[in-house]
């Protein structure tokens, strides 16, 4: 039973990190109908930035709490800046182009960013500094759930709540919902759609950066290629929940995380990624609109 609970909790941890990345996909898709293929790379850059900042600060001997805060803020700032710039360079000029054009450009951006980090930094796996200490009060349950799992679960919950509040109650959140429903109509009632799109990319990237920081310190190492797999899996989660739907992305991520966790725990860890990809293929074949998504009907 302990094993089951352990797998369940590690599945939740996994799932909540996927959720942080999947939200970026689903928000962007909801607003401009584009699969932001470079989103996984934004997450990777977030992880790398926090790695660089945290290592520099720890070399200069800053206290742990300061390192965590500064690294998190820096990762969020730079990831958002990258997300914003990527949108301006690769997607904005193609807003009226045929559907495949922005997708190819997004793939190009993903390859570019990966190799940019590879060339500017290194291709090796780098050890990520341990940012989350083992808490003393976690001692009795340490065999089931680690401290970093707890931190990840709490941090993700807080971030999700903040996002929900932002989208439900602020002006920009309202503008985002309006733009997602009907872009032309939003323009007509005086919403600056360009600014809304930029805001979406910035928020999505900041979430991905937090995910990057959390998962990198959880796993303990990073390299330039981590974004590809994480991106694909988060995308799977977003599609599973119904792309474009924010609660759907969270639900899909949790289901994917649990599936992976139980599959690796009870079947075999070799095929962990195969499970995720097979899940993706199956959903797209049988229920392309996802669990909570709306089926899209095309009118002629």
């Amino acid at each position: 039973m302990d094993y089951f609970i352990e797998l369940f909790l590690s599945g939740l941890t996994r799932g909540s990190i996927y959720a942080l990345i999947a939200l970026g996909y689903t928000m962007v898709y909801g607003i401009i109908g584009l699969i932001n293929f470079a989103h996984g790379e934004i997450y990777m850059i977030g992880a790398f930035t926090s790695f660089i900042v945290a290592t520099v600060l720890s070399i200069y001997g800053f206290p742990l709490l300061a390192i965590v805060i500064v690294a998190g803020v820096a990762a969020a700032i730079w990831s958002s800046a990258y997300g914003y710039t990527v949108e301006k360079i690769a997607y904005k000029p193609l807003r009226r182009a045929p559907r495949l054009a922005p997708l190819i450009s997004a793939i190009g951006m993903s390859i570019f960013l990966q190799n940019y980090v590879l060339l500017a930094q290194t291709s090796d796996f780098l050890p990520f500094p341990e940012l989350i200490p083992e808490f003393a009060f976690m001692e009795p349950v340490a065999h089931i759930i680690g401290s970093s799992d707890l931190v990840i679960l709490v941090a993700t919950t807080v971030v999700m709540l903040a996002l929900t509040l932002l989208i439900k109650f602020t002006k920009i959140g309202k503008a985002m919902r309006a733009t997602a429903q009907d872009k032309t109509m939003a323009l007509l009632v005086g919403i600056n759609v360009d600014r809304v799109i930029s805001a979406t990319f910035i928020i999505g990237s900041a979430l991905a950066a937090i995910g990057g920081l959390l998962i990198a310190s959880h796993i303990g190492q990073i390299n330039f290629a981590i974004g590809f797999l994480a991106g694909i899996k988060a995308f799977t989660a977003a599609v599973l929940g119904g792309i474009g739907s924010i609660p759907g992305a969270v639900l899909g991520s949790l289901i994917l995380g649990l599936t992976e966790s139980f599959a690796t725990g009870y079947v075999s860890s070799d095929y962990e990624d195969v499970f995720a990809f097979s899940l993706l293929v199956l959903i797209l074949i049988f229920k392309p609109s996802g669990l909570l998504g709306k089926a899209e009907t095309k009118k002629v």
Partner: protein, 410 residues
């Protein structure tokens, strides 16, 4: 005409340069060594980034101004801007008097190549030719039928592994494995295509990507079947009626084999484009609903495109196995699919001659610019973005057949 850059534009470019300097600061400037606990600050990189982005943003602006002026001039001359924009190469191709001698020259050069250059050069050329054929195969799927396939490398892997495994277990030779590899890949194409082809464009792209990764992961993990990451070695080179060949002779032989395959491929693809099927593909690419209304069987037509594209990938897979005499899963990553896709996009989707040029440029250039080879993937990414923004039709665009209404009298 050089467009004048105003002071305002200069200021804008300066701001862009500052933005990029900020953006790339942590990754370009700081480099930490977490084991020795040292930090190196590479400030010169910041200078390069700022200068580079300043110049590029000015060039882009100049391009935009130039484009505006050209469009303005065309409008003044009462012309649609696209009509005169047929490239020089297409113009040459339209005139037999120009292109017959050119074709003779090119084919003469192609035939003499292995005798003029070293085995090393021949080897590179074989690789380039393989990518030309791969590009032409993917061109059927992406360029002509408009189905974005990001897992093309899976079919390539199926071909390579079917030769390797058939040879390992049953001792099958190259010539027997060649059609089997192609057909197996085509079968995979149909099996995968059947359920997924009703998906919309971008979903299709992701599913094919997922499928490509599944194939690679299975090859990597199912060691009893595929020998896992260590791969299969000692695959024989193609035979020629049992004649023993030295390595350089075998390379020359493979080179001619590839030339032969390329000619066949170009012939088939060219004939296909003008066929009933080819026109159905083009029509499907433009508007699915209109196609169905016209009585085109959507699924069947798409499946054939998928299977044909996969067939060529399978053939080249077999040849790849025979050329390197070794296959392992690392040769079939997503990056390989991306390279083949960039060949098609760079050359011009739907254009045969464009794909040939695209493959030769993308494969040969990094080979000869060794110093730049580590920037190759970076350049691929930039090319994909740049082409989509500045020249979505590719280097040599496929010519659309235009039918003009011949009005009788006035």
């Amino acid at each position: 005409m050089i467009p004048l850059i105003s002071l305002k534009e200069m200021k804008r470019s300066l701001l862009i340069a500052l933005w990029f300097a900020f953006l790339t600061f942590p990754i370009m400037v700081i480099r930490v060594n977490p084991i020795e606990r040292t930090v190196s600050w590479r400030w010169t990189n910041l200078l390069y980034v700022a200068l580079g982005s300043f110049v590029i943003s000015l060039l882009v602006k100049a391009w935009a101004i130039g484009k505006e002026r050209r469009a303005g001039a065309a409008a003044a001359r009462q012309q649609t801007p696209g009509s005169a924009a047929i490239s020089i190469i297409q113009a040459i191709l339209n005139r037999p008097a120009y292109w017959y001698p050119l074709a003779v020259l090119v084919s003469g050069l192609a035939l003499a190549f292995p005798h003029l250059f070293s085995t090393y050069q021949t080897n590179i050329m074989i690789t380039a030719l393989m990518y030309v054929v791969l590009g032409l195969g993917l061109n059927i799927v992406v360029g002509v039928a408009g189905l974005l396939d990001l897992g093309y490398v899976a079919f390539y892997a199926v071909g390579a592994y079917s030769y390797a495994l058939l040879n390992l277990h049953f001792g099958l030779g190259f010539w027997a494995a060649l059609p089997i590899g192609g057909l197996l890949a085509a079968l995979f194409g149909v099996v995968l295509g059947f359920p997924v082809l009703r998906l919309r464009g971008d979903y299709l792209a992701i599913v094919t990507l997922g499928f490509g990764e599944i194939i690679r992961l299975i090859l990597e993990n199912w060691s009893d079947f595929s020998k896992g990451p260590s791969g299969i070695s000692n695959i024989p080179r193609p035979g020629f009626f049992g004649v023993e060949m030295a390595l350089d002779q075998a390379m020359i032989y493979m080179y001619y084999l590839m030339i032969g395959l390329l000619v066949v491929t170009i012939f088939v693809v060219n004939r296909l484009q003008d066929s009933r099927l080819g026109r159905a593909w083009l029509a499907l690419r433009e508007d699915e609903i209109a196609c169905q209304a016209m009585g085109i069987d959507k699924t069947r037509t798409k499946l054939i495109a998928f299977a044909l594209g996969a067939f060529w990938a399978g053939l080249i897979g077999v040849i790849f196995g025979a050329k390197t005499t070794f296959v392992n899963p690392a040769s079939f990553t997503f990056m390989e699919s991306a390279i083949i896709l960039s060949i098609v996009v760079l050359g011009g989707m739907g254009s045969i001659i464009g794909v040939v040029f695209g493959a030769l440029i993308l494969i040969l250039l990094p080979e000869y610019l060794r110093a730049l080879s580590e920037y190759r993937m970076l350049a691929f990414g930039a090319i994909l973005i740049g082409m989509m923004i500045f020249k979505p039709e590719g280097l040599i665009a496929g010519v659309r057949r235009v039918y003009r209404f011949q009005g009788r009298g006035r």
